[in-house]
Symmetry: D3
Subunit: 112 residues, 6 copies
């Protein structure tokens, strides 16, 4: 069984290390991320869901984990997750079913 | 200059031909698309924007064109488009700037 | 060591859950899959081998596992698997050697 | 309208230039390609169709063109092409409809 | 024939527009880019060549164009370009031959 | 925790098996790899770093492992690794942070 909390912990540890090694790159990326996800014509949760949909479509397991964690903290519902998976399947076919399934597992584990 | 109306026209013609050649596949895909994009916890425009964000992140020019066309018909605003491009850049780096630029061109041409 | 039976089991469990959450999307996808893989000018095994070749080329481990399982049930030979891996290497370079190797492991484990 | 003959011509010219610049790489790649596509448990046409399916799934227009040209020379039928597109749609979702449409255009133009 | 100068011009125009629409994202991305490409253990040309190799491997035509333009301004040699294409072919197989060919065309056009 | 030595061992075992099953493909690929990575206008380490950068950008964990192992044997420094990760982040956005983090883990484990 994949332990999504462990994947998340490693992503966080690695981001900390990268922040020390590449401070300018990581600081500017952080600014980019905050600008991209801030409240605007679209709200932050819609943007995180979009990031999750992209993560599923591009088959990126640590990305799925990280954005799911952000979404759980925002109080995302299972309905919102499942519809995001639906869009990803439409855009990604069979592989997005496999990675949409991972997203569902991540939701179940991280929302406990 | 890329003519996004021409790209759209060709996508439409090709979808018609594929519908004749692969009626079962294309009919079931149409059902899948309608289910994935229908009103639910997320509204259809949010889902189309998500499909656009995925299209930019995966560098798919005809997909960008097709989803942009759907969005223009739904009355999407430039604010919503630009923020979707922002999320794609966050998720896709430099290549998403290039394809986000194509999305912007498509918006300008198709919303005329 | 990767346990491909466990990967397969999780894909199956997740597909069951997605079937409950997204019945319209998953039913139409099932219809699409059956139409795409049915006997025609190409036989079902040739189509599953093509799906396997695509899975290797796009580096999708759960897809490799799932299509290998279908192929093993169809009585695929090691010759057919190895030649599919050969085409994937031609189309995907070094990464397809790594994922072709995973396909070989999956074949060995799932054909026991 | 995309001119697939022109795409093909450019691929051929470029391969010639790369053959002069990178003779060892291109010669060994040629050997790899011949080995991967030769008659075996799968016949050369099945392997070219697999290469076409991969080309559609990975959204590679010059690859679609080049493999379609090989297939036309082998006497591929429209039935075989359409079923290959069907498998690609199953594996690639919406983007494979767009690139499957390009494959169909390439078939129509190159088989004239 | 692809006009790489025109592709470059459009990328530049689009980046200007994105800079007005998404100033925070584009400014932070610019800072990220400068940090990533500055002189360090690796020199700026080696880093641009790496960006070109990635661009070929991921089949991104506007990226190839943009990084080739930077490289031409830096005085890149045909030897350096061809060896970068060689690495991309090793990592990307057949599709990287097609996009490596595009890189070669871009070099020839933009270095005039 | 990911055990990168174990990933490396499996890649090596699988390459051995593929070498027996597909001798012509694997021999020609070996010739291709040696030609692509040999001393020239760019030195072998610069080429391996480029292969690593591509591996991160395309999210290929076994590729990251294998090229990192080659680099460690060549005496790569942490500075060179971190700057390669920086280029990959510039070219790949968020997902390259996740896979750049994996590269850092692989470096730490394999350079012990």
């Amino acid at each position: 069984m994949t332990d999504f909390q462990e994947i998340l912990d490693r992503v966080m540890v690695n981001m900390g290390k990268l922040g020390e090694l590449l401070p300018k790159e990581m600081d500017s990326f952080k600014t980019l991320r905050e600008a991209a996800l801030e409240e605007g014509a679209l709200d932050p949760k819609a943007k995180e869901l979009m990031a999750l949909g992209i993560s599923i479509a591009i088959k990126c397991e640590p990305c799925i984990t990280s954005h799911m964690n952000n979404l759980v903290k925002m109080g995302v519902t299972k309905e919102e997750i499942k519809e995001t998976i639906g869009v990803a399947i439409f855009m990604g076919g069979g592989p997005s079913i496999a990675y949409g399934g991972k997203a569902l597992e991540a939701f179940e584990q991280l929302s406990k």
